[in-house]
């Protein structure tokens, strides 16, 4: 049982690392103080990706963010993949490791998306067992991230916040609060994002994610927001971040921009906006 809810990330803004920004980041990183990588992109034997990561890790704290472990899967965790994660965490010694409350693998077929699960006592027991297994294998606590939801399961018995609080209580894992996901899910499912934040165990949050979303409509013409990570963070999400930080105090903030990736100055500007939000609660 681990009991460390906060990560070792500095209270400065970070960004999701993209290879095209490598030179810019080394030359002119401000205001970015740390980088997050997708674990699965650095699981080759060598070559440029690993060389870049080694070099960046000499200058910046690194957060390893897994997207393929399928912690919410019905089946057992992929032990080969868990070994690869252990290897990466051993040589890199990252400041934080995080994964998602979602599934992506079923009977050895991997779907490159974060798929949803219902919140029941059965799924809770399974997620708890998987988080325990990950933390044992890695020898470190992890952060578990709230998903963005496009639909709900009729069989769910508890709220997402209750589910995450219980996983954290039983495993000692910390939580990664994705504020854009909160907003996207709340709009999509007709919930109040501030009430969600109110119910969230903010004292367990070791990192906050911010990303952009797209707007669509469902069959009834209601707004359907898509967590696309392909543009600037939306204004209501920044406002929700202020609300979170007022309640939680400063946290490590990360900008995610994975599709239609902009030039470095645009991403750095988003990080500056996060830094300003951070400063509003520290001064």
């Amino acid at each position: 049982m681990f009991d460390q809810s906060s990560s070792n990330l500095p209270p400065r803004p970070g960004v999701g690392f993209k290879a095209q920004h490598y030179t810019s980041i080394l030359e002119n990183p401000a205001p970015v103080g740390w980088l997050e990588i997708h674990a699965e992109n650095y699981m080759g034997e060598g070559g440029r990706p690993i060389a870049m990561l080694r070099h960046l890790a000499e200058r910046f704290p690194i957060s390893v963010h897994g997207v393929g472990l399928s912690i919410g899967g019905e089946g057992a965790l992929d032990s080969e993949h868990l070994s690869r994660l252990r290897h990466l965490c051993q040589w890199l010694n990252p400041a934080s490791f995080s994964e998602h409350l979602a599934w992506s693998t079923h009977e050895s077929a991997y779907f490159n998306d974060l798929l949803p699960l219902p919140y029941t006592s059965t799924t809770l027991a399974r997620v708890v067992a998987h988080v325990d297994q990950v933390q044992e294998a890695l020898g470190r606590p992890m952060l578990l991230e709230n998903p963005s939801s496009y639909l709900a399961f009729a069989e769910s018995e508890m709220s997402e916040t209750d589910f995450l609080r219980e996983v954290s209580r039983r495993t000692g894992c910390g939580l990664l609060l994705d504020v854009n996901n909160v907003f996207v899910s709340a709009v999509n499912l007709g919930l109040d994002p501030r009430a969600y934040v109110q119910d969230f165990p903010l004292e367990k949050v070791g990192e906050i994610h911010l990303g952009g979303h797209d707007e669509d409509e469902d069959d009834a013409g209601r707004p359907l927001l898509i967590d696309s990570h392909g543009r600037e963070v939306a204004d209501p999400v920044w406002a929700l971040l202020d609300h979170v930080l007022a309640l939680s105090g400063p946290k490590p903030l990360l900008i995610e921009w994975d599709n239609d990736v902009p030039d470095w100055p645009v991403l750095a500007e988003e990080a500056r906006r996060a830094e300003a939000a951070q400063q509003r609660v520290t001064t």
Binding site: E40, N41, M43, G44, E45, G46, G47, R48, P49, I50, A51, V67, G68, L69, S70, G73, E74, D78, E80, H81, W103, S104, T105, H106, E107, S108, A109, Y110, F111, N112, D113, L115, P118, T120, T122, S149, Y150, L151, A152, F153, A154, E155, N188, L189, G190, L191, D218, D219, A220, R222, L224, I226
Partner: protein, 251 residues
């Protein structure tokens, strides 16, 4: 209430014509409807993009539209078998072999193998290359008995198609390929894999080295394949491409 299995979720996700499972709701008292399509789209778009980006030579030859049309049945038949997306598509050469609409383009499976091999080389382990002077300093009879070690990033593709000319056509607007068999050697002198036309006999030479045979035995294998094999040229390609990592002298 019977919980929705992930098997059922997966089946509905992979088949656009399938009904959306009833226990999936819209959060407003109705069925999930097209909200479910978000997952269908994310998976299909993500895997299609992975095929487009992972097979640049196929893409140059076929065009985006045709490669998308190939990716659609491929990703249903062969979703990734691991979360390492940079490996995705290992099954594409065999799939192409049986894909009737493109059966008249018999070289496409070899092109897919070439794209896969370039990716493997990119992610292969690093190694310190052998100094060419080390080889030059060896007396011929010592070199003949020596074992040459290959870099992990080296790949050899044998083809009965003009694979090198096809590569040139796809990436450098080369002339229409003449019908002949061409093998390709991939080396990675730094971090960027480079394909080279591998002269006749080269594949036999390199494969023999890879099996731990001596330089002399490997030369024999090359000449058995091609009596006029240009061994100095083949060795030159390996040295220039940092594809040899050690010479072990027999005692």
């Amino acid at each position: 209430m019977t919980p929705l299995s992930q098997q059922a979720f997966r089946e509905a996700m992979l088949h656009p014509e399938a009904l959306v499972p009833e226990t999936l709701r819209d959060g407003h008292g109705g069925p999930a409807g097209r909200r479910f399509s978000v997952y269908r789209n994310n998976v299909a778009v993500g895997l299609t993009e992975a095929v487009l980006e992972g097979f640049p030579t196929l893409r140059a030859l076929l065009g985006d539209e045709n490669l998308r049309a190939l990716a659609a049945p491929f990703l249903r038949a062969h979703p990734p078998s691991s979360p390492l997306m940079f490996r995705y598509g290992e099954a594409l050469p065999a799939f192409l072999q049986r894909f009737q609409p493109l059966a008249h383009l018999g070289y496409l499976p070899d092109v897919a193998r070439l794209d896969l091999a370039m990716r493997e080389s990119y992610h292969a382990a690093d190694a310190t290359p052998l100094e060419p002077a080390r080889l030059a300093a060896l007396p011929p009879e010592v070199l003949a008995q020596a074992h040459l070690r290959l870099a992990p990033s080296l790949r050899v593709l044998r083809s009965s198609w003009p694979l090198w000319q096809i590569w040139q056509l796809a990436h450098h607007d080369g002339p229409p390929p003449r019908p002949e068999a061409e093998d390709i050697l991939i080396t990675r002198p730094g971090y960027d894999p480079e394909p080279h036309h591998l002269p006749a006999g080269g594949a036999g030479f390199i494969e023999a080295l890879g099996q731990g045979q001596s330089a002399e035995q490997a030369s024999g294998a090359a000449i058995a394949e091609a009596p006029d094999a240009d061994l100095p040229a083949i060795l030159g390609l390996l040295l220039q491409g940092s594809a040899l990592t050690a010479v072990e002298i027999a005692r």
